[in-house]
């Protein structure tokens, strides 16, 4: 096993308070990306 994620990174990944804010941030960000519209890619002559 190779420790690729440091203890500090892991602490940030699993800390419920930090992650609560991340949850709000991610929810909004994902909503913007996904619900932010979609359309065609072809040029209409």
């Amino acid at each position: 096993m190779t420790q690729r994620i440091s203890k500090y990174q892991r602490f940030k990944m699993m800390n419920p308070i930090i992650q609560f804010f991340k949850f709000i941030y991610l929810s909004i960000k994902i909503m913007v990306i996904v619900a932010g519209g979609h359309g065609g890619t072809r040029k209409i002559n």
């Binding site: 096993m1 190779t2 690729r4 940030k12 929810s27 065609g40």
Partner: protein
Amino acid sequence: MAKIVVLGAGISGHVAASHLRRKLPKEHEVVVVSPNSNYQWIPSNIWVGIGRMKSEKILFPLAPLYKRKHIGYKQAKAVSFYPEGDQNEQKPYVLAEYVFGEQKGQQEKITYDYLINATGPKLNFEATEGLIPGKNKTYSVCTYTHADHAWEGLKALIEQMKQGKKARILIGTGHAKATCQGAAFEYILNVEEELRKHKVRDMAEVTWISNEYQLGDFGMDGMLLSYGSMTMKSHEMIEMIFEDRDIKWILGAGVNKIEDGVAHYENLEGEQKSELYDFAMLIPSFSGHGFKAFNKNENDITEKLFKGFMIVDANYTPKPYEEWSVQDWPETYQNPTYKNIFAPGIAFAPPHSISKPRKSKNGTEIFPAPPRTGMPSGITAKLVAENIIDTIKNGQESLSHKGSMGNMGAACIASAGFGMTTGSGVSITTYPIVPDYEKYPETQGRKLGKTFGEIGLAGHWLKLALHHAFIYKAKMRPFWWLIPE
């Protein structure tokens, strides 16, 4: 009065039927034809497969909901398509066979004005010899019954490991052209985490086997993504996770035969190899359902409707990878020959893969087929429904709603372990799903920032929130339509 028939009650069929019903006056008929009696939220099968969620939590019966909402429902499977009707039936119809109740085995001509084929994939286990869910120590999590079996198998193995057995666990793709790597990725991380929770991690060797050329390809040719303040490639991110979790990997592997506890595969070098295991979860290849189509004179016209999956407004001209364009991908999911037939979700035939095609030295194609995850399945189903609604209301064909996978974002919230405080998730979004090298030439066809990755507890909460939100939406509870696809 128009009659819209929807084949399939999975994510796309159900989304289409519910939007049609909400927006069309009652004089128009919406009928769902599907062999499944329950709606299932497939993404949560991952948790059923590790015993953290009961399958009852991810499903509900369709008949009572459809009755309440005035959506017709026939528990039947489509068999063949007659888009011009026949000598005795003027209207186009689908021949369907009932699979349940007194009518079981009976066939019916179900006529339509508009047809939405949302039959998703056939789970083509037969394409890999010996790959049978629940047999030869291989399992699947593609349906809730498969996931229940997978948990039974895993639980039994964990018990043996507690008694001192050393075990090999193999998770990934079970065919050279399989897709849905994301689901297998979630499952391997969840299984690995469960082993830790049961304190048997040190007894197991956990291995990822996949037809991907690199880790993190996910059938999308991999991606360049923002990760915190860095920009990294998806294979670097997944490599980091796998190394950190002590998960080994075998790539470029086309699994072609399963024997009890042995997976045989060919790699890109053309070598035939095998991998031993005590528990395997391998995603089968997905194929079309093998439907046939006939014209008015009952001549076979299958090639006008199907190319494995259903033919839609894509550019199917064969061309080399270097010439693929985002414009090849469909926008309205309308069949070019029969313009009242549409195929959203997994049911449409993609123009080509998204990942670079690769062949082994023996000429065997080993690369992922293109995935169509829940989000694009829902979005394409909704836009098909909206175009049909506009066409009915305007009295003329209207195709103003468009949604190419080359101009659409998708989120993959991959669970990496279950638990309100101990769980984890890998959240990845891509924009667009199909890379657009003209628009984003410097960033591998995708927009950085909108294509990003995150790891942590919040990802688990997100996946759980999506589970509840989408089941609420599927049950058509108050204001369900405010929840985006």
